[in-house]
Symmetry: C2
Subunit: 395 residues, 2 copies
Amino acid sequence: MRINDNYLNLKESYLFSDIARRVSEYKEKNPCAEIIRLGIGDVTRPLPAAVIAAVHKAIDEQSSAEGFRGYGPEQGYDFLRRAIADNDYRANGVDIQEDEIFVSDGAKSDTGNIGDILSNDNIVAITDPVYPVYLDTNTMAGREIKYIPSTAENEFAPNPPEYRADMVYLCSPNNPTGSVLTREKLKAWVDYAISNNAVILFDSAYVAYISEPDVPRSIYEIDGAKKCAIEFRSFSKTAGFTGLRCAYTVVPKELSAKAADGSAVSLNKLWLRRQTTKFNGVPYIVQRAAEAVYSPEGKAQVRETIAYYMENARIIREGLAAAGFKVFGGVNAPYIWMKCPGASWDFFDLLLNRTCVVGTPGSGFGKNGEGYFRLTAFGTRENTLEALERIKKAF
Amino acid sequence: MRINDNYLNLKESYLFSDIARRVSEYKEKNPCAEIIRLGIGDVTRPLPAAVIAAVHKAIDEQSSAEGFRGYGPEQGYDFLRRAIADNDYRANGVDIQEDEIFVSDGAKSDTGNIGDILSNDNIVAITDPVYPVYLDTNTMAGREIKYIPSTAENEFAPNPPEYRADMVYLCSPNNPTGSVLTREKLKAWVDYAISNNAVILFDSAYVAYISEPDVPRSIYEIDGAKKCAIEFRSFSKTAGFTGLRCAYTVVPKELSAKAADGSAVSLNKLWLRRQTTKFNGVPYIVQRAAEAVYSPEGKAQVRETIAYYMENARIIREGLAAAGFKVFGGVNAPYIWMKCPGASWDFFDLLLNRTCVVGTPGSGFGKNGEGYFRLTAFGTRENTLEALERIKKAF
């Protein structure tokens, strides 16, 4: 019995354990310091009341034989797929059918698992810096990986590369840089994918944070995208589902890829086969919770929470600018990406020592992240205000 | 961009769609017939009250910022891993540590996904007949698959084969045959795995249905098993979680496999890396629900439900025997596997026409299932009694 040797090519990430270690060393030396963590990528506000009510109702149904729900459809219940198609697509003039939507337990799972249906000989392009899951899951599959530099020169929203790639991961709004792909940039990517017979794996887990009117909410707003793009979305950052686990992936029926014999195979059919074989669906009670996000009360509650986080983002963005830092992101994303004086880890220590504020060194997301630093809008209002007051005084 | 061509080698299963079609044709001709379905593999009893109460409590915690839980540990919360280790292992004298337990959304997912960490060059052995997920997921990975005949001659509990295999799937109590592996048989498999440097993938999703005292509840009751076996368990059939989704997989720290350079690599470490990269954990509210299965009330309620199903199993088993059929299973499993006169599909039609009872043709689980038929104990008492009365009259 042999292991999958590709796992030995994975780089261990010590990013968050290194952060934890440095913070704990600092606390040992400065036991009274009040540390504020603006490095976290997890939401902190409570679940919307409509979601909680939906779970209570759905679990009570399970207390009688008549209301009991066992195995559901692996790709999601019709009631949720319909709510998604209606609210996230048709309401914005994008025609996505229910059977192009696959409900899942997370965009992290899906952006990794999607590789199951694609050849390990495909060449993968990812941006640098990047959300590490794209890199790690394709390393596990043994695929060749090429980088697309994401830098201040291209506003952290790069154009397609000169070289050919078969699979391209794009994340917009972006983690970690907080940038977005404009309509023009996204069109350039769709054109690239079509002319290279590539698939775009479009992660828009942060779509709810877009505030500017002309930024595309879905890649399918771009002509031709249904022939070349899979879109990943999540209830995690939209509605506080990081602990409740629900997401979805759109695989258009127009999208196909080549088999070894040259024939075109529907990726929608392959993904359905993958999901029905290796997955058993999201809990019924969680799907009812996700459905409640689209109720009038749910929508209002979600808007309020997003507004709360985005006010934090404004406070961070403007506070850092006032302290003299060059700042990116934070307008259409909960992430603020700042240029720091010197190396990312040096700034981590400097910020911790001067202000007791913890952020994330940009170099942890790739070599082009060196010299940058990520702060997030997911803290409390009080802590966010206090952190920026300290930063403005200290710098 | 190319697809994973192994998907083209998957055989489409028409088993359940064929059943549905034949039943619906029958109903069209016989509109007044009262059809009883004993083919289903899903539970039907309501969730235990302790589980429902735990979900109510856990979701209410999410309505305040203080009680809110976002991302949890991908491998499961400590409270659940401890409850599993204490109740399912240590209470039976088996020493399994918390960090050898990985909580997941289903045994179906895990028995498929486990292949991610193992080489695609490994040779896989599966029984025939078999739960189709083992076959399909390994076909997707392009592995060579060998069969182990599971027949009346070996009481549907085969001994190890003469040939070498690297990965062996065993399911005990067995779906579809209802058989179990005795201590002696299981020991033969552990010896085989150790001498062949193979891994046993031991699916014991139906462990709660074992009624005979000397049948092993865990493969780790066998000496040496921690060096060669991964055990899959689920709350689905134990506590009615088919729609709530929670399971777990045990990967002992003593278990290693070889890398290409001949070095031994811990499978526990590889699986942890796989799960933290491609999975985001089971919902907090579902983990609290699973924890409640181990409370005194939860245990009593689970026992009651299992007893209900196993009384159905007894009724089916004894009823079929009284009608002159040769019957297997149904003592330590919710499945009754009967020898039918002639081909499986012919008997399906015969049973439907004579009694309006629907079962599952054994040939749908593999070629050695031909001539057999599966009935399940998951119906209501009333329907089960009625079905067997009809069968006893008709045969």
